[in-house]
């Protein structure tokens, strides 16, 4: 569309003053009012983002007039979602320089800061960089204006989820602190119904070798668990797959509009991206919050181990011939693979979530404690760990009055994480990986 010389200058105007004021008339009428700016090049970027066609000037020598259509509501949302100091940014670009994770080509987060100030939602949602950001917050620590670019990036990433994971209202609900009661009720009801209909709220004690002991299988049996949880797990995977497709299509369109089209499906990058995640190379490049690499790795592998525990439990129960044992329901022998995976996963998770929580407080002064979005997941993982360990402990201590409620909360927490995975902060594992694959496909990867 526009000629090259203009394209190259896309983000030339850093003037935050050009951002529409919240109380401007545009705010009253939503995004319909267009704000004309004298900054031709900056407006160029804006016009492109909105997909609006810039008016062509009659005289080729005169720069065409440009209109931007800011989404004022979006600007307010970013501020509300944790990007509180967004408007302090004056586009000095310290952030992009101190970021060790950004590609050199059109680095983040400076450009995202002005897009957010200008309310260019379409541009941001289709931007791979909002998920490529690993929240090191080196930018936040060094920002000369205390505009906290790291938090803005996270707020924007969070706000992009409704456009990626459908139905979007679930993402909006899970991201909204005032909705937490309703959002928590849903997994409780699902698990409650499962126990009520398929298990028993008044379970019998075990028999035979487990005589008189608590047997959670009597509360909710193996097959009901597999059926109910797999259903929601598979549902989340489908939502994720559709989300990945949405994001990929949007990123491709965005890249074409930016003048650097990307071809390829990204499938070739799946292996390298998984390898990179497994080693957490990018986390290792953070300066300010270097210690996040270890804590996050613990959590990652904790989830891998706990997933393996779940898988092996199914093998134990349903495919006894594979391991030469006898088909059995829980509780499994203490030295079985299920338990070894489960216990090591639990230990890794306790260490990981403990470190994550400690680190948050350690870095509070320079990068802040984090948002509701962060703490929701941290708290859920803490609840998951406490109830998981509690369930095992109360079972071994044979205290039914504590064991069953604890186990119920534990199952509900797992359900919470399953159903909200594509909508909560958990979504980062998929969309960040997608963004990494896209960046690699586009050849704008960060040198490691």
């Amino acid at each position: 569309m526009a000629d090259e010389s203009v394209e190259n200058k896309e983000e030339s105007t850093g003037a935050p003053e050009a951002a529409p004021e919240e109380n401007a008339p545009a705010a009253e009428t939503g995004s319909t009012a267009a704000v004309a700016t004298a900054e031709a090049e900056g407006a160029e970027a804006a016009a492109e983002a909105e997909g609006t066609v810039a008016e062509e000037a009659a005289e080729p020598a005169v720069a065409p007039a440009k209109m931007i259509q800011p989404d004022i509501g979006f600007v307010r949302e970013v501020i509300g979602a944790g990007g509180t100091d967004l408007k302090k940014c004056f586009q000095c670009a310290t952030c992009s320089v101190v970021c060790n994770i950004t590609p050199d080509d059109h680095p983040f987060p400076r450009k995202e800061m002005i897009w957010a100030q200008w309310g260019l939602k379409e541009k941001l949602v289709a931007d791979p960089d909002i998920w490529l950001c690993h929240q090191c917050n080196d930018c936040t620590a060094q920002c000369p204006r205390d505009a906290k670019p790291g938090r803005v990036m996270q707020a924007v990433a969070k706000m992009s989820i409704p456009s990626l994971s459908k139905p979007g209202f679930l993402a909006k609900g899970i991201g909204n602190p005032s909705m937490i009661a309703i959002m928590t009720a849903l997994p409780l009801i699902i698990v409650g119904l499962a126990v009520g209909l398929l298990g028993s709220f008044n379970p019998q004690r075990g028999e035979g070798e487990h005589a008189g002991q608590i047997v959670y299988g009597q509360f909710l049996g193996h097959w009901p668990i597999v059926d109910v949880f797999s259903t929601f797990f598979v549902l989340s995977i489908i939502i994720f797959l559709l989300g990945i497709r949405n994001y990929w299509v949007m990123m491709k369109k965005h890249a074409s509009e930016e003048g650097s089209p990307v071809s390829g499906s990204g499938m070739a990058q799946v292996g390298p991206v998984i390898g990179e995640i497994a080693a957490h190379k990018r986390f290792g490049k953070c300066d300010e919050t270097k210690d996040r690499k270890v804590s996050h790795l613990f959590i990652l592998y904790a989830f891998v181990l706990l997933f393996l525990a779940t898988v092996t439990s199914t093998i134990y129960t349903d495919f006894p011939l594979l391991w030469g044992g006898h088909g059995t329901e829980s509780p499994y022998p203490t030295l079985s693979l299920v338990k070894l995976f489960g216990y090591s996963g639990a230990i890794a998770a306790v260490i990981g979530i403990g470190l994550i929580t400690i680190n948050r407080f350690k870095h509070q002064a320079k990068v802040g404690l984090g948002s509701y979005f962060d703490w929701q997941l941290i708290v859920m993982i803490i609840v998951l760990m406490l109830t998981g360990i509690g369930s095992a402990a109360f079972r071994l201590a044979n205290i039914g009055v504590l064991a069953y409620p604890t186990y119920f909360i534990h199952l509900s927490t797992v359900m919470f994480l399953f159903i909200y995975a594509p909508f909560s902060k958990m979504a980062h594992m998929v969309y960040r990986a997608t963004a990494m694959a896209f960046a690699r496909t586009a050849g704008r990867d960060t040198p490691m």
Binding site: S96, D105, R145
Partner: protein, 422 residues
Amino acid sequence: MADKVLVIGGGISGITAAVEAAEAGLETVIVEKNPYLGGRVSQLYKYFPKLCPPYCGLEINFRRIKQNPKISYFTLAEVESISGSEGDFTAQVRVNPRYVNEKCTNCGECAAACPAQRADDYNYGMKSTTAIYLPHDLAFPMRYVLDKSACGSGCQACADACAYGAIDLNMEPKTMEIKASSIVMATGWNPYDASRIENLGFGVIPNVITNVMMERLAAPNGPTKGRILRPSDGKEVKKIAFAQCAGSRDENNLPYCSAICCMASLKQATYLRDADAESTAEIFYIDLRAPGKYEDFLRRLQEDENVALTKGKVAKIEEDAATGDPVVTVEDVLGGGKIRKQFDLVVLAAGMEPAAKGVKMPMAVSFEGNGFVDGDGLAAGISVCGVARRPDDVSTSVQDATSAALACLQTSARALETAGGN
């Protein structure tokens, strides 16, 4: 009692206030901490708006001081306390020993005989002087001074070498009382300590210097006799970078704009460009502030194809181990990429910090948030001018000093009125 103005600080603002007030008929006395008058301006190579050497303007002012019997001044002097009110202030002033009296002829025999060295603060530590030294070529008063803290114990080589009996190693500090009807605070500024800017390598990478050091490098009476040679190896600088807002407009350092750094860097780019046609300069900025008439100067630099103006703040400087060259990392905001560039020398456009900030004041002074004196919060009869009040360039400070002189005249007029009424 005679109308007397006490001017605290003998830089360009203080000198101007004193001269203007005296030429309007008031007695004035300047109290200056340094052993010379002229302050920061005397350390500049060229200054705005005419790009002439400040020595020229200072020389005129020194002549006005010498010719005017109403002006007196004390160097190496500090105001310790002030009491009283408008029309009747009493100041206690401590005068530190110079160890050199008025018999000094500047022959330099003392320095030739001196065995001890001290860091030359006038040249921001880029060279050293002997313990007895002439502050600079046009020092006013033109007289040597001894930094006794640098002397070896019992050494009196300078006194022995002096043929005029000008050196008195037993001089003691003196305290005196000055009565004044009005007071002008012209306490000026210090360059921001650039080593506090964590990411720019000042103090670690030798070829990263500050803008005030660049003035000394370019000045003919500076450590390199006006040749722009870099500190690490004395190599002639061909490729220079300026990092704007180094520590200014930065919540982690100085939150305010120091007002002069853009013009200073544009000016300093001409030092190199005028000296060497092959040289190149690149100025990295957030936005360039060249207000009013200064825009013409910016345009002149924009037209020079060996001067690049790149939008993007330098936020990282590393040293290339092999060459000692500083390597800057910048996001070229207009170009769309993060770039790393190697230079012979990087100049940090560091800001100005008010000298009165954090210093115990001899009287009640209110400061605004950044440590500049809040003129509205001063008692009647006391005014403030120059960079003590806000970051400004020389010509604006001079105008500000003139208005401070006017305030003194108004105090004087009020006193006359009261006297007439009695």
